[in-house]
Symmetry: C2
Subunit: 452 residues, 2 copies
Amino acid sequence: MQSGVDEELDKNQINLSKLSEIQENNGELRIAKRMLSGLTPVEIANLINSSPPKNRRYLWEIIDQESHADILRELPEEVAAQFVETMDSRQVAELTEELDVDDAADILQHLPDQVMQQALAVMSAQNRARLETVLSYEEDTAGGLMDTDVITVRPRFTLDVVLRYLRRHEEIPPSTDQLVVVNSDNVYLGMLSMSKLLTSDPNMSVREIMRTDVEAIPVDMDDAKVAQLFEQNNWILAPVVNAQGQVVGRITIDDVVDVIIENAEHSLMGLSGDEDTFAPTMKTTPRRAIWLGVNLLTAILASSVINIFQDTIEKVVALAVLMPIVASMGGVAGSQTLTVVVRGMALGKIGSSNRKWLLFREISSGLMNGVLWAVTLGVLTAWWFDDIKIALIIGIAIIINLLVAAIGGTLLPSLLKRMGIDPALAGGVALTTITDVVGFMSFLGLATLFYR
Amino acid sequence: MQSGVDEELDKNQINLSKLSEIQENNGELRIAKRMLSGLTPVEIANLINSSPPKNRRYLWEIIDQESHADILRELPEEVAAQFVETMDSRQVAELTEELDVDDAADILQHLPDQVMQQALAVMSAQNRARLETVLSYEEDTAGGLMDTDVITVRPRFTLDVVLRYLRRHEEIPPSTDQLVVVNSDNVYLGMLSMSKLLTSDPNMSVREIMRTDVEAIPVDMDDAKVAQLFEQNNWILAPVVNAQGQVVGRITIDDVVDVIIENAEHSLMGLSGDEDTFAPTMKTTPRRAIWLGVNLLTAILASSVINIFQDTIEKVVALAVLMPIVASMGGVAGSQTLTVVVRGMALGKIGSSNRKWLLFREISSGLMNGVLWAVTLGVLTAWWFDDIKIALIIGIAIIINLLVAAIGGTLLPSLLKRMGIDPALAGGVALTTITDVVGFMSFLGLATLFYR
């Protein structure tokens, strides 16, 4: 069985090699088309997603136009948008009619503003109206995450009526483990689990078995908070409501996974959570350049600290050899603390009542590791440079920097948050800047005192 | 509504402050107990999870013994094990009877070996047998992730029979959006979606509407691969089979989310994916010490490169001031490439057929960013140190290091993987070591040539 699934995964690579070959030899279009016709839309989407830009365009062109919508639905938005960009406004407008409104909105959001406006202009009034509603939500809110195809039922229905109602539905959207219960004004009342629905007496009413302890998600809630609620409650599906409490959509766990990944990554360094692996150079380069620029500024700041101590370094060159070690140990220790604290904050576990304990734990841990590595490095340095003084200096500097890393890693995230800056995004750079500056400052400063 | 959910999240913090107060004043036990009695097991578990060790023990002691099992089920395994450790073997044995076998196994796995063996020894033979089966799977495989409570049905059943069978079941496990279809030997045949079951004609047979295109997960599959399959296919639930193809369990998306987080984190630096925020100092310190030790080794390696160039630095101290910038820019650029490549590999998108394209993209992107920042930094340096030579040197070194970062970031992960090392875990350190060494080597080496 193991090999069965391995084969499944490798099929992609085999298909890719075959296609590249066909394309390079500029022919056998029939073979390529026959190959594709044996694949499902999900498989074709995976194939496109694993291909460099040129092969993607080739694949796209040889696919039957009729299956375009089915494949776009399965592609990451950014990749889908690349194909839609090449269509004319009328084609885009037609396509959006075939897609679910949330998929269509996601793709439109990735198009250049002008292209999107043109497509909206040629749409039917009805299609435009439903799209504009979804487009009006910010991308990083519950509204930006949600799907709009919710199945709602009324509390007074009997389960038998619900079951017959579902049977009339052509298809229940995937990941539907709960139905949403609303009143006649579409205001959210509670949740009805499919399991309960199946296992209860069909003559009971929805009201009798629905859960009312699950709160709905406000449409303007931050997506990080949505992820937090999903993680804490192990939800598969949650309803989304507007300011009037009316149900406007649903969020499912697969929508949330990307957000969870983005929060888990310590700092994305100019990459987005669902980064397209095969984005063209001109797309990836500017994004990364910004982050490199930020890093340059912080590196220059650290360098200007070293600059102060030029005279001392000139006297004792060994300092230049050893100083990166002090900075780097502080950087790693700081990241360790920061990771735990940012993650704990994202899960809502850290507040004023336990931050003091956490700070104490981090300081003790930092002190213990500080002493351990100060002694280790001190002995090594004494042996390497045959100089007790420099061994003593580096030991003290390590302890200072690991303590600063512990304190900074614990307190910086809430400080950043209060300043309206996302600690998951900026915490890493900010803290490394601190540990670099403190590392160089303490090590070179102490040396200046000792080697006067 | 927004404030409603905010309150929900803050309730934890309010409860925590109240409890700490009660505990510190050493009394009003009644008030604390009454407070807890108003909370659900999930809420109490969240409260415990957000508390430092001392408060956790206090909470645990004042909770009704009867609800212990319900609360343990909701706690992270590591935290649950802390409480179970304080029980005697007989209590542990009794507790495992109340828990689901997978929850019980997870907790047992976190106990000291001796405690676990003693508990197994006093269990009923039946309980011990079912636990030992689950304990025999490695923790980082499908077997270690799975639950064992699978609902299976036979292909010849009519849907009506299935519905009646479900109704007899007391409770369907959460996240069940699919039933597993097996033959009389319990061998996996296909999946029956709950939605299909609800919306199809009850007189049809399971065979007619089941899906047979979903492959089951082998019990020994690596958990990272399991996560990859869930992400690619947007699964909620997947069946797990043994070597004979028999269904032995099921994995649900909430089990997989932790694995996804672990894969997304670039390097955990001595932290586990579901790290307990409030683990005591003696638990966190050794784990982190190991990673700090690894970092020390790589930092010393970089320092020994600087050591070669002591004479040059003595002549031109500005080199010591500027050299961290070259290393740090390479480190960030390398991490950017590494993140994209490791993530792409985890999703099975990168193989021999497209690695060449990816390498080309990364080199072009590295070159463009290299030239951009070489010029910027060159101009800055020329102005800062009033020295064209050093500006030229740093520019060339930046370009070299960014190219090495691009090549290393693209090729290192598959190299590590072929050596049996997890690139998500070790890639970061390995690459930073390379960019540090190359950064110092190129910058100081060029300087030695230029300033001879």
